[in-house]
Symmetry: C2
Subunit: 410 residues, 2 copies
């Protein structure tokens, strides 16, 4: 018997038929003796329906009132799922964020959880109830309704699991786990049984959009074992996201992440003097453009080259800003390229295995793929390459690091 | 400057355009210096949409979860109206029933208000906000969401007005006030400027469905002046429902109410002995059929006749029950008629004016309208007549009591 917190997203509860399917799935866990807390999102389409109503009235919506509006979405789902659980013969009780008392700060639309009162939920579990909790929402000290921002239901699930010291937090989604890379790019991609939190963070931030980054951070902070599972397939064990410990597969590399939404900007021949990096990046950041990789070459002849990447949507805007900066600094040239991708090897095994980066570079060189930028961290190596080489690069690296094979235990 | 609680029903907030119109209406009150609390219902159609979702899952819905589901309807409206008020340049804050803290008992779907915490609402009013409150809903001691039952938004408005000691509670509806009778039956029907609570109770229960009876009782209990106004017309003063005091027009009769939904049942020749009334009405009540008028004739020859009226929908069912009872009692005959109507004169002036009933009977006799049943209370006289005479009877009485003329002050 285990205490499990399960999260079902908008697609999993998108119709009353799907809500009934979720109830049957939960019933399977209850029948094998588990205690279940189900955290649910709004039915898919509902949030957009509500946003449309709001936009018919004004585009300058109070974030407090927008939270009041949007939280009705999950409230509808908790009531319907509880009814479906009753219909399936189970005891069940629904809770809004405020009713659990998921206490947050007062930052409407992006509130952070401060505390969770587990008293009522625990009493209901102990008396044999399935507890159904509205995701994405909480309440501040003054009783105002808050939301955790888009995708916040994952965070609610992890936070509930942490508060209840649950044995596992299961995120039901439309994929059946985390893969070594995107199966649409490399059909030999293999589902991972386990992945560490740190790897998952790198995979998520690099574009493997299975889980919200914040919920993964949260799970890591509170030692909550997190499992990604498919809502629609039966019997799969998904991917367990866990701490690095003895039982973890000691593969060198867990996976290959990539991000197509990048663009790079290069400013050449800027004076190599203190403050120049700030002079270049400052105006970009001030324009609310997020800068990803930043590389500065070693200075030659008193000047240096400075390269960074931004989201492709911000490319034109960043280019204009940089051209202005170039004039101010008397730089030689500004060059941009929005036909690039970032490709990253991720794996905790890198820490103890030398030569990962050189194997990566060699593999790409063998395919005549030119590397434009390189950036490394403790558990990843990222390269920027021309967009057209993405699929070739992913497949070559997947092969070179034998990611299609089950890893050997070390 | 006055403190006004206004209630806007589902039709008044049925679209975002109408919500914007309500915001403009409220702005007019604020600009003349009033403090406004707006109590709103779910947008028309929304409650039925939610009920349909629930019925797709099960027809045996938990009343607790049904309340969780349905209360999202008003929560959407409070958010949208607050946004519309902001857009109109006003300060506004929304409150769910739980956020106000409208404390109720735990009778889901028909909860009764126990207490209202006016602290937050009053603070908001004092700082220049319009306060927007979700009607129909509350919360019990344990924090469960409850509803007051259909039409409960009127009750919420009156209860808020009582708690805040508001100067007036205004119920915005699709009629512009209370009339001496239904203008569709008697075009000369006149809008009343004032009517007493007691008269309004009689008018409401007799079928003038302008207000929920419970909210009128509530207003009377807590001395809340209640005004019925049109949502759609500008500038009308509606009808003020008030206590009987010196300023009230001392008309003999305020209005003529009628009810088309009645059917009557007669059981003839039952033994005139103790317990017989219970023996007849008991099984009808046990079948959940509400009995309206009950009349027992004076006994002759040791037997008596017993007549009562029920809602027309319950006619067939009541008839079958009565036939069974007749056999048990050895009664002579059971006769039923579902082509009847009840017609009532209502007025506090009756108390001090003799002869109202005889004028009524004379007027009907002059039109050859046969009276089938008569029942009187302190402020009303009701008669049951054949359905076909309804319009004729109403117009004749309206004329006889000069209801089209402004009343003289006494």
């Amino acid at each position: 018997m285990a205490l499990i917190v399960q999260k079902y997203g908008g697609t999993s509860v998108g119709t009353t038929e799907r809500i009934e399917a979720v109830a049957r799935k939960i019933k399977g866990y209850v029948e094998r003796g588990d205690q279940v807390v189900a955290v649910v999102s709004a039915m898919s389409g509902e949030t957009n329906r509500l946003l449309t109503l709001a936009s018919e009235i004004t585009n300058a919506q109070s974030s407090r009132e927008l939270d009041v509006l949007l939280t009705t979405g999950e409230q509808v789902t908790i009531a319907l799922l509880s009814m479906a659980l009753h219909h399936a013969g189970l005891k069940a009780r629904s809770y809004t964020g405020g009713q659990v008392r998921i206490l947050t700060d007062s930052e409407h639309s992006k509130a952070r959880i401060r505390d969770i009162d587990d008293q009522h939920v625990r009493a209901d579990l102990d008396s044999g109830h399935v507890v159904v909790v509205a995701g994405f929402q909480g309440v501040d000290e003054q009783g105002n309704i808050t939301t955790l921002g888009r995708g916040g239901s994952d965070t609610t699930a992890v936070a509930m699991a942490a508060a209840l010291r649950a044995d596992e937090c299961q995120i039901f989604t439309d994929v059946d786990g985390v893969y070594t890379t995107d199966p649409r790019v490399e059909p030999k991609a293999r589902k991972l049984d386990r992945i560490t939190f740190e790897e998952m963070l790198e995979m998520a931030s690099l574009g493997s959009k299975v889980l919200q980054i914040r919920s993964v951070e949260f799970a890591g902070k509170y030692n909550v074992p997190l499992r990604v599972l498919s809502s629609f397939e039966e019997g799969g064990s998904g991917t367990l996201i866990t701490f690095e410990d003895d039982s973890v597969e000691q593969a060198k590399i867990s996976g290959i992440a990539f991000n197509r939404d990048e663009a790079k900007l290069l400013i050449k021949g800027v004076p190599d003097q203190p403050g120049v990096a700030h002079h270049i990046v400052g105006p970009v950041a001030a324009a609310n453009i997020e800068v990803d990789m930043i590389i500065q070459n070693i200075a030659q002849d008193g000047t240096t080259d400075f390269t960074f990447t931004v989201h492709r949507n911000d490319y034109e805007k960043a280019l204009r800003i940089l051209e202005k900066t170039a004039k101010e600094l008397g730089a030689a040239e500004v060059v941009g390229d929005d036909k690039i991708v970032k490709l990253s090897l991720v794996g905790v095994g890198m820490r103890s295995h030398a030569g990962i980066a050189s194997t990566m570079f060699e593999t790409l060189a063998n395919e005549n793929i030119n590397i434009r930028m390189i950036s490394t961290s403790e558990i990843k190596v990222s390269v920027v390459i021309d967009e057209k080489y993405l699929e070739l690069g992913v497949r070559a690296l997947h092969e070179a690091f034998q990611l299609d094979a089950e890893p050997k235990r070390v």
